[in-house]
């Protein structure tokens, strides 16, 4: 009894003898691979001043009814008298921000007039509408260059969209080209993304019909 390889060799020889020459084209099977990956959104570090809230054992805030040496007013039980919260840092892995459009965390809702859907994971614009982000990087370091990357096939009516980046918290918007590194004229330490629809309609949809997500990416270089 021949082993399997021998049988295959004999059969191949038979085929060659009966049909003619053997094709030298190696068949290639295309395998459609799908996978999942973890994307870590920026970490946002904030601090909150305890203000006039009562803290057991605190030298300044630990005595009920006494004047608070920290803020100069009476301490109060509970968090009602806690002070303001300040954002200290927003940082990203590999100096690359990825917008997944699954939450409004980094959408500047006060300035954005386009329709952001965290259900459909898209942004829809009509003429004159804008998308503006909150700072997507803010770590006290000077941003000198940045690159916006949106998959071309995820943009509808790209001719109607203008892209901007700002290194100074949106004060100076500098127009950029998708997928082209931009060197900031005005540097700063708070990176903001801005998009403007100049005519008719436009859209950015980061998820295709098969559920594949390609986030909006902004990579940056710090001094």
């Amino acid at each position: 009894m021949d082993d399997l390889l021998t049988q295959v060799a004999k059969n191949q020889q038979k085929t060659n003898d009966e049909i003619g020459f053997l094709s030298n084209i190696t068949p290639v099977f295309k395998i459609r691979r799908r996978g999942i990956r973890l994307v870590h959104s920026p970490i946002v570090v904030t601090n909150t001043d305890i203000g006039d809230a009562f803290i057991l054992g605190s030298a300044t805030n630990g005595v009920l009814g006494a004047h608070n040496g920290h803020a100069g007013t009476q301490v109060t039980l509970g968090r009602g008298k806690i002070g303001p919260t300040l954002t200290l840092a927003v940082t990203n892995a590999n100096n690359t921000y990825q917008e997944m459009l699954r939450a409004n965390t980094f959408v500047n809702t006060g300035a954005t007039t386009a329709t952001v859907s965290t259900v459909n994971h898209d942004i829809n614009f009509t003429a004159g509408q804008v998308y503006k982000s909150n700072p997507i990087f803010n770590n006290g370091q000077t941003i000198v260059k940045a690159t916006l990357n949106i998959l071309a096939s995820n943009i509808t009516n790209v001719a109607n969209l203008r892209f901007y980046l700002s290194a100074d918290n949106g004060v100076t918007l500098e127009q950029v080209t998708n997928a082209v590194e931009h060197t900031f004229t005005v540097t700063g330490n708070k990176l903001v993304l801005y998009m403007l629809c100049t005519a008719a309609t436009a859209a950015v949809d980061i998820e295709d019909t098969n559920g594949k997500s390609t986030p909006i990416e902004v990579s940056y270089v710090i001094a």
Binding site: R34, L38, V44, N47, T85, M100, R102, N139, K212
Partner: protein
């Protein structure tokens, strides 16, 4: 092949159930995929997440270091003995001389910029106070103190030696039975004191490629 949404969310559920704690550290070496822990983690900040939640293909975590925690990291104990020398000018070096509880001082702990609150019972009063660290290495740290006094074989006694840390890294851990670092991030100096609480929030997305 299509990985369906329910399948992705099943992976999310497994990760969500495995989330354990967050921890702050004091080293800003750039994160690497080969990291297995924070470079200089502070055990007093190793805390369960204040809140966690999940929704479609995502998990959100909030870590809270309240005003009472992580402000003063203790070094050594009553028996810890120091020699205090004057290498140059107004620079004074505090060196653990090997006697007593090891305060575990290294070049990374404390680091330049951290503040040391020195309150040695048996130290000359001029050597006590709060000073910013100007240099550090194995078993020693240096500060600037125009009034410093050279002395040897002085224990902390009933006093203390603590550090007001400057936090620069944050880690997320999974697997409570055998903790594993899931991610490490770094940021610019965050000084913690008893008038502040620090909150760190982040989201992990589980997406299809």
């Amino acid at each position: 092949m299509v990985i369906v949404n329910n399948g992705v969310n099943r992976v999310r559920d497994l990760l969500y159930a495995d989330l354990y704690r967050g921890k702050l550290g004091t080293n800003d070496t750039a994160p690497a995929e080969s990291d297995t822990d924070l470079v200089v983690g502070e055990s007093t900040t190793y805390l369960a997440f204040d809140t966690t939640s999940y929704s479609d293909k995502q998990i959100t975590m909030n870590y809270l270091l309240n005003s009472a925690l992580g402000n003063s990291i203790a070094f050594g104990g009553a028996s810890t003995q120091f020699d205090i020398t004057n290498p140059s000018g107004t620079t004074f070096r505090y060196t653990f001389d090997g006697t007593g509880t090891d305060p575990l001082i290294t070049a990374n702990r404390p680091e330049v910029g951290d503040s040391m609150v020195i309150n040695g019972q048996n130290f000359n009063a001029a050597n006590n106070g709060t000073f910013v660290v100007t240099a550090s290495g194995a078993n020693y740290f240096e500060v600037t103190n125009a009034s410093g006094v050279v002395e040897s074989n002085k224990t902390l006694g009933t006093g203390s030696l603590t550090m007001i840390p400057i936090y620069k890294e944050f880690g997320i851990y999974t697997n409570s039975a055998s903790p594993v670092l899931l991610s490490r991030d770094t940021f610019t100096d965050i000084t913690k004191d008893a008038t502040k609480e620090i909150n760190i929030s982040t989201t992990i997305y589980i997406i299809q490629d």
